[in-house]
Amino acid sequence: MGLHLYCVTPAAYVPRDVAGLDGSPVRAVLVDGLAVWVSEQEAPARASIEGAQQHHAVVEAAMQMVTPVPLRFGQWLADEEAVHVRAAARAVDWTTQLEALDGTAEYTVRILDPGAESPARDVREGAAGSGRAYLEALAARRAAREQRFAGGSTVAAAIEAALAGYVVRTRVDPLATTHGLATVAFLVRRDDAAGFTSALDRATAAHAGLHFLTSGPWPPWSFAT
């Protein structure tokens, strides 16, 4: 029977009465001082909203005890031996990550500019049939995207500066939506959560005209590799 993978914790933290995909019981495979949280699954799970929610619930259950290294949805290995082999290869790296992530959680901020010009959803809308016009429309769309991300990165840097002292690490990615400037992930010590959220409220309020969608605390999805 194959195994679906959820997350990695120190071996002292193992699942108890945790339900995974389709209600399957979650157990730990212990490898080199680590616990890899798995449940039996005949074949690789297909991506679905329900599956993503169930996967996330297991990682959240781990988060109740300790900050885990979350594993991206969709990873399946044929048997326990395969888990041992793969985990042993990553054991040193994951041990280092668990130490660095210990006591932290992730907060996500999506920065949107309602005034950003909407690019054509389909570049053919702006290109009257010619190949040249099509390529120019493609280039214009890419340039607009890059410009939005540059603006988002500037705002993200200003917010990060205002949060100095609360943030352990920051990650900034493009936000590929019509008005998206950037997605910013902050890694924050759980002890600092209240101070961080207050400071974040103040920092975002300083940017009139932009919208900020904030969520958290999350397992450190954006900081696990």
């Binding site: 690789p44 594993l71 399946w76 996500t108 959220t197 969608l213 904030t214 999805w221």
Partner: protein, 71 residues
């Protein structure tokens, strides 16, 4: 329109989309057989776009931060 009534469904949808986005697009990789393809990630972005557009239309701030529930 009642502010609260228009806001709550957006929050739920945003929360769901955030979960899907985080789980499918982030996290460490151990296996070479990750099932989420580029197409899958496109779907996540598409879903986000729908939700974020709704949020913008409602002129709401979206999901509020909460205190750490793990303590």
């Amino acid at each position: 329109m009642n502010d609260e009534r228009s806001h709550l469904p957006v929050q739920r949808e945003l929360s769901l989309t955030e979960v899907v986005s985080h789980v499918l697009d982030r996290g460490a990789v151990i296996s070479g057989d990750v099932m989420i393809s580029v197409a899958g990630i496109d779907l996540v972005y598409l879903g986000l776009q729908v939700v974020l557009t709704s949020v913008e239309t409602a002129r709401e701030r979206g999901q509020r931060l909460t205190a750490d529930p793990y303590e």
